[in-house]
């Protein structure tokens, strides 16, 4: 128990599993992701995850928004005025106006009506995503096309470098899973594969796992009572618990056409990831780095980890996540001390004069 809150460990034996199953997970290599979203579709299909809004978000090709109760794979798109390694996009120097990145980002921001920060939160985001017609039209933004002259020819500005980052995000199946630890019903449990899964028939929808997750993955499903499947309870990626138990790959990994999503034994995936990042560095892609592979990080390592081409926060990932339960022993100590203070205070106020 001493190491259960923090630091490296093998989660399945720690949870009491005795048979020697190797830990399973994902290695998502974003350097070969082509943003096809086959993973999103395969996941929805296999797991019968209900639709959760069909709105154009204007954030590059990302119209999914965020992971949530009804989005278990989410492909992110980031457009940057940078080159990818030594690759030449063939745009530098052409008279094509300034990079579109800024304009596109501004458009994306204004296209999200209402409180755009609510996006990605299933309970409040659905109201936003579900609007068939935005209530207030965002102000029109000049995109600079189409024009009758060559774009940028008039102002003489030159196009910058360009690269497109894509990343298929998913539940991280943490070594120290805050969602699982704070769950008061035991609905969230650790499988024999070291993954974290919700038992639909146990969860009472208390919602505690939602703010506990350091990655904002799990959420409570909103929908129509008695109509929407698993309405009112917490939902997230199961790493296809029903498939991997039968020796199959998870649906997203099977559907991925570029092997950006690789499924397997976590130990082996870590080696493969290290080899891949070394190869990329050799090829001049110096900004390639692994995320979540280190068992000494604040989560004890992720069961689903990533190769990224920029800082984690660029992808909407926390740069240095620490599982909240690391501090739980201290929290209980402080709460105990506070309780004793209250008891002593109450005793003291009756000790005085009348």
């Amino acid at each position: 128990m001493s190491n259960s809150f923090y630091g490296p460990l093998d989660p399945a034996p720690d949870a009491g599993w005795r048979d020697d199953q190797p830990r399973k997970g994902f290695f998502t290599d974003t350097s070969v992701c082509i943003g096809c979203k086959a993973c999103e579709v395969a996941c929805k299909e296999w797991n019968a995850v209900p639709e959760d809004g069909l709105l154009m978000l204007g954030s590059s090709y990302d119209n999914t928004g965020a992971l949530g109760a009804s989005t278990w794979r989410h492909v992110k798109f980031i457009e940057q005025p940078k080159s990818f390694g030594h690759q030449d996009a063939g745009m530098a120097g052409t008279a094509a106006g300034p990079a579109m990145t800024d304009v596109l980002n501004r458009t994306a921001d204004s296209a999200l009506v209402g409180d755009r920060n609510a996006l990605g939160t299933d309970h409040s985001g659905l109201a936003l995503l579900g609007q068939p017609v935005p209530p207030a039209k965002p102000a029109p933004v000049e995109l600079g096309m189409p024009l009758s002259v060559l774009p940028g020819a008039a102002d003489g500005a030159q196009r910058t470098e360009f690269r497109w980052l894509m990343e298929s995000d998913v539940c991280k199946h943490c070594t120290h899973a805050a969602c699982l630890d704070v769950c008061p019903t035991g609905a969230l449990f650790r499988t024999e594969f070291g993954t974290v899964v919700v038992q639909d028939d146990i969860c009472n929808g208390c919602g505690y796992c939602v703010p506990a997750c350091p990655f904002g993955v799990i959420d409570r499903r909103v929908g129509e009572k008695g109509v929407t499947k698993n309405e009112g309870i917490a939902q997230k990626c199961t790493l296809c618990y029903d498939r991997i138990g039968d020796g199959l790959e998870p649906a997203c990994a099977q559907a991925c056409p570029t092997q950006s999503i690789q499924y397997g034994d976590v130990d082996e995936l870590r080696e493969r990831a290290q080899a891949r990042v070394d190869a990329l560095h050799e090829q001049g892609v110096h900004d390639a780095r692994l995320y979540g592979h280190d068992t000494h990080d604040g989560i004890g390592g992720l069961g689903a980890f990533f190769l990224l081409l920029d800082e984690p926060e660029v992808y909407g990932l926390p740069p240095d996540p620490v599982v909240t339960t690391r501090d739980l022993p201290e929290m209980w100590r402080k709460a105990g001390l506070a309780a004793l203070t209250m008891l002593a205070g109450a005793a003291a106020v009756f000790g005085g004069r009348r």
Partner: protein
């Protein structure tokens, strides 16, 4: 990928540069509604009231005892209703009792309430036995109720401090920046708030001659709350910002004004005028409620803005290993590129 947006105009710290994915939140705000801060407040009132009732019982202050016992049971009942209502599947409430998990403050809290509730209820029932028909009141049941008041009240008082303080752990054991970063001081803020509110209730319900302990509890609680809230904010860095911004900021300011005014009223006039005592007590209760709602709302706001997730983590990383400025790849595979500036 938008850069650090301009913060709230009420923000106390200048907005830090940071990078995010289209300004979207990283962690999710809890799906909890205002049932939860209402519960935090009512649970605090119940806990403090049980302590006051037990003390009043032992020192022969019947009116304060009655106020405490009834306040506890009303607070507790409303609390439970709020908690169940906030579940996604209220009909599965009893699933909470399947397991005991020290890693889940909600599980421990459920068990604390399960232990506390029946005794607080029994103490209140004993208080109300006068309402029973004479035949029952003087019968076995009535006499049993009468005899059980004191022991039940004492057991409830023993569990009461835990009822008041665990709720701080409930909020802090999350990735919600403002709640988590408050974890060292929040239990003291919450028990202080509970003492202030329940003391306030005692001042409203009991005559001046009996309300001395309630006044002292209220003033002591208010001072504890104010002092620890201050210390908490000093320790929180940027995550204290949401406590001053927007609706949460208004609630926190209101809480401070009401608590200071209530405590001053209780200390200076509370022993002389029943009206002043009642007004001060009401101000203290309102101050406690504002504090709970303010801290709740600030946490929700901190989760919705990626700044409060990214900036502290980035600072932590940079303190550990400052990012290189050369273009050579860092030894650990971390990139030298990607500062917020470059993201434009």
């Amino acid at each position: 990928m938008s850069k650090g947006r301009r913060g709230d105009k009420n923000a106390v710290v200048p907005p830090a540069e940071f990078t995010s994915y289209y300004g979207r939140p990283i962690v999710k705000a809890s799906p909890w509604e205002h049932d939860i801060p209402a519960y935090l407040f009512l649970g605090g009132v119940a806990a403090g009231s049980s302590l006051l009732a037990a003390g009043a019982d032992l020192t022969d202050r019947p009116a304060l005892r009655r106020t405490g016992r009834l306040g506890a049971v009303v607070g507790l009942t409303l609390s439970m209703a709020a908690l169940v209502r906030d579940l996604g599947r209220p009909e599965r409430f009893l699933n909470m009792l399947r397991v005991v998990k020290v890693t889940s403050p909600m599980s421990i809290g459920t068990w604390i309430l399960t232990a506390y509730g029946p005794f607080a209820g029994l103490a209140a029932a004993s208080e109300l036995r006068g309402l029973l028909p004479r035949r029952i009141r003087t019968g076995v049941l009535g006499r049993l109720l009468g005899a059980s008041g004191t022991p039940a009240g004492l057991v409830a008082a023993a569990f009461a401090p835990a009822v008041a303080s665990y709720t701080a752990v409930l909020l802090s054991d999350t990735a919600t920046p403002t709640w988590h970063e408050a974890h060292r001081q929040l239990p003291f803020v919450f028990v202080g708030s509970a003492c202030a509110a329940s003391g306030g209730l005692g001042m409203i319900g009991a005559p001046l001659s009996e309300a001395g302990p309630a006044r002292r509890l209220a003033v002591g609680g208010a001072l504890l709350e104010l002092a620890f809230e201050r210390r908490m904010e000093q320790a929180m860095g940027i995550t204290a910002e949401p406590l001053h911004a927007g609706h949460a900021g208004q609630l926190m300011r209101a809480s401070q004004v009401l608590t200071i005014a209530g405590a001053a009223g209780a200390a200076l006039l509370g022993g002389r005028s029943r009206t002043a005592a009642a007004v001060s007590g009401a101000a203290l209760m309102a101050g406690s409620a504002c504090l709970r709602f303010g801290i709740f709302d600030a946490g929700q706001a901190s989760a919705r803005d990626p700044r409060y997730t990214v900036v502290p983590q980035r600072e932590r990383l940079d303190a550990r290993a400052p990012r290189a400025t050369s273009t050579a790849p860092a030894k650990d595979g971390r990139s030298p590129v990607g500062t917020a500036q470059e993201m434009r």
